[in-house]
Symmetry: C2
Subunit: 134 residues, 2 copies
């Protein structure tokens, strides 16, 4: 952990997470890292959630995605209420340790609204860029 | 903005961002939202960055992705140093306003290490899950 990142807690919370993995996490002020959830076969980005050490531990060891809910301050295993489970295919931690890419097999709708993803039909007006011709 | 989210600043910073869009953002304690960057044609998740209102405004209006660097506390237009620009194809804001999905055409490597993505060859050991047969 770099001391130049003041909002990274210096110690990981107690959890079953492998200490070697815990040491690579760069957590935010709330002890969380971002988790991008992607459908493994189509490549669709389904949602973004948050994990603390214990949520990541459960995700790595159970085959099911578990988040930490910032609004409810509790663990949340995706699908336990809705039936819309996320079955883990792979998990990767990015180069600077603050983001996870979790590839899953999503059952049903990923979004609590019933939409296929949390980004579906939520586009903002944007100017499109075009790379220069080679 | 809900008062139940204590780490959401109550006022947006000065920026050129459309106030109607700014009102939908649920920013973290540092005034930022997460931005998932995805290659528009292959679906590869390239990286995760952070945007404040002004970075999002620039991303929506210039055709190029601009982040706010948490470590350097400055705006960072991807590619200005490396040449590895990200040309914007679309931008969507998720259902709860704290994550953006930015689909781009990436020039060269997305990761500062030279890897195609910031998640390339960074898999963690994970138990794979299998959805029940229908």
């Amino acid at each position: 952990m770099s001391t130049s990142t003041p909002d990274t807690p210096s110690a990981a919370p107690d959890s079953g997470l492998d200490p070697a993995i815990a040491a690579r996490l760069k957590r935010d002020a709330n002890g969380l890292v971002a988790a991008v959830i992607q459908q493994y076969d189509t490549g669709a980005v389904l949602m973004l959630g948050w994990m603390d050490d214990e949520a990541l531990h459960r995700t790595l060891t159970t085959g099911r995605v578990t988040f930490f809910s910032r609004s409810r301050q509790e663990y949340w295993r995706k699908g336990d209420t809705s039936g819309h489970s996320q079955w883990v295919k792979s998990v990767a931690l990015d180069c600077d340790g603050d983001a996870l890419l979790v590839r899953v097999d999503q059952v049903g709708a990923a979004c609590h609204t019933g939409a296929p993803t949390c980004f579906t039909d939520r586009e903002l007006p944007a100017v499109s860029g075009q790379r220069p011709l080679d």
